[in-house]
């Protein structure tokens, strides 16, 4: 429909309404801008505060970081502690088994000695194993060699020839002897590989 709009609103009222509308809109936009600015300002301030706190924490962390020499010294100290701990671990010797004692003695016997008896007894105080060897040797030198060999073994303590007398065996003169010694049964510290005992056919 081609019907014109007959607007009877006077020009001055139109202008006044337009001005008032602009004022309202401007005021509202200004208010929104103010709120927006305040929001952005608050956000910026908060961000700056957080950044400042992060910077302070970073500075503190930097200040507390040890120097290179301190780190090297600490590492050397820890290395030495580790070495000591490994040495202790390596030096720990568990109690020797009776089979190992027998195997060791058998392994140490000189060529001209024959064992006629072996007694193993354990004692609780001190906790140790009492070993008594009885045998026949071709000479006193063989008995002395066996005593030295046993005494040289770190696992055996108090090697003593308790009896040694000459006797005859199958028409020959031999030395009948008795040797006693103790084997500690507690965990002990030794230099690594110092306590060598025969175990199941090997050393």
């Amino acid at each position: 429909m081609n019907f014109p709009v007959l607007d009877f609103l006077p020009t001055d009222i139109q202008r006044a309404v337009r001005t008032q509308r602009c004022k309202r809109r401007s005021g509202l936009l200004a208010g929104l801008l103010l709120v927006l600015s305040a929001g952005v300002g608050m956000h910026s301030w908060n961000s700056a505060r957080l950044a400042d706190a992060a910077r302070v924490v970073g500075a503190q962390l930097v200040a507390n970081v040890p120097s290179e020499n301190e780190v090297m010294d600490r590492m050397a100290f820890e290395q030495s502690q580790l070495q000591q701990a490994l040495q202790i671990t390596d030096g720990l010797v568990p109690p020797i088994l009776a089979s190992a004692v027998v195997a060791t003695i058998t392994h140490m016997l000189p060529e001209h000695i024959t064992l006629s008896g072996l007694r193993l007894e354990t004692e609780d105080s001190p906790r140790q194993m009492l070993v008594v060897l009885k045998g026949v040797a071709a000479s006193n030198a063989d008995v002395a060699e066996l005593e030295r060999t046993l005494a040289a073994a770190p696992a055996f303590r108090g090697v003593t020839v308790s009896e040694n007398k000459a006797t005859e065996f199958m028409g020959k003169r031999v030395e009948d002897f008795t040797i006693s010694f103790q084997v500690p049964l507690c965990v002990q510290m030794q230099s690594p590989h110092a306590l060598r005992v025969a175990m199941g056919g090997g050393l």
Partner: protein, 336 residues
């Protein structure tokens, strides 16, 4: 928040205020997300006499209602009832638009006998029937009426967009929502309590307009004007207490005379569409139909808008028609 949206001009809401003789009608239309328009609020207030400053209690009530419906700061279109206007038809020589406006203004001042500073004058050029002259509808409304209306609206926190003649906005609504007005000769009658405006459209263009003074206040809800207080030129609803069709005979006969004057004997309107606060009477339609010899029907303005089932009668035609202008602008803007 709604107020801020209204001030920022999010034109999803259209407000229209009709200062009728019987009541002030306010309607707010809202566009849904799917583009459909439906009325968000519609309420009436007691009639406001615009020839004097608005009373405080009325202004307060108006403002409260506007605030209650969340329409603060919204732009609104105002319509004034026809009884506030001086109107006349004039024939002016063919001239350009600027000269025609000046001539119409001069002619209106001369015919209405008013001071130029006291009135707002507009004119409508009717469809051209002759090459040697132009038919012009002259309209003038007192400045104080317009200013008081604008003042009332501003006091209610609304922002006035335009002030228009109620009958012509109703015609705009009819043209938009009635499908039968675009082709041929169609008559529309906007009936208010004291003025009936007869408009004739030829192929969707205003061809003739005539204001008929009368007293049809009995058809409104309010009490009728005392019989003795009638203007000497006005047509009474005769007899006022009658419920028969012929009580509207005077109006129907005057309508017939106007139609004969406008159409002659050659071409007769295909039908007559009636709108306005006083148009809810079936007997009036029968009288118009019988006397004028053409189908008469109501504008059905209560069905123009979705969700407007409670807009009963034809009283909201002006407000809806005024709002239809914004709807049209928004459709054009959206299409662009």
């Amino acid at each position: 928040m709604q107020r801020f949206k209204n001030i920022l001009g999010s034109r999803q809401t259209i407000v229209s205020v009709d200062f009728g003789t019987d009541a002030v009608r306010v309607i707010a239309l809202h566009q849904d997300a799917d583009g459909a328009w439906r009325h968000q609020a519609a309420f009436t207030l007691p009639a406001i006499a615009l020839d004097r400053p608005i009373a405080d209690h009325l202004a307060l009530g108006f403002r409260e209602k506007i605030r209650e419906h969340g329409l603060d700061g919204a732009r609104c279109r105002v319509t004034l009832s026809a009884n506030n206007f001086h109107s006349d038809l004039a024939q002016l020589p063919v001239m350009n638009d600027a000269e025609l406006a000046a001539a119409a203004r001069f002619e209106a001042l001369d015919r209405f006998g008013v001071d130029e500073a006291d009135v707002v004058i507009q004119h409508v050029t009717l469809v051209q029937q002759s090459t040697d002259h132009r038919d012009v509808m002259l309209l003038a409304v007192p400045q104080k009426i317009v200013r008081n209306a604008a003042q009332a609206v501003s006091a209610a926190s609304l922002s006035v967009e335009s002030v228009e003649h109620a009958a012509f906005t109703a015609l705009r609504g009819i043209s938009r929502w009635q499908n039968q007005t675009q082709i041929g000769l169609v008559a529309a009658l906007h009936l208010e309590s004291t003025v009936a405006t007869l408009m004739l459209m030829r192929d969707g263009v205003l061809a003739h307009a005539r204001c008929i003074k009368g007293d049809w206040s009995a058809a409104l809800a309010q009490a009728p004007t005392p019989y003795g207080a009638h203007d000497a030129d006005s047509i009474p609803l005769d007899p006022i207490d009658s419920s028969k069709s012929w009580r509207w005979s005077c109006l129907a006969e005057e309508t017939l005379r106007c139609l004969r004057h406008a159409c002659g004997e050659t071409m007769w309107p295909t039908h007559l569409i009636v709108s306005g606060p006083a148009a809810g009477d079936d007997s009036m339609l029968k009288a118009l139909q019988g006397v004028c010899g053409l189908p008469a029907c109501c504008a059905d303005s209560d069905r123009w808008m979705q969700g407007s089932n409670n807009l009963q009668g034809e009283a909201w035609a002006s407000a809806l028609g005024a709002a239809s202008l914004d709807i049209k602008y928004m459709e054009v803007r959206r299409a662009a």
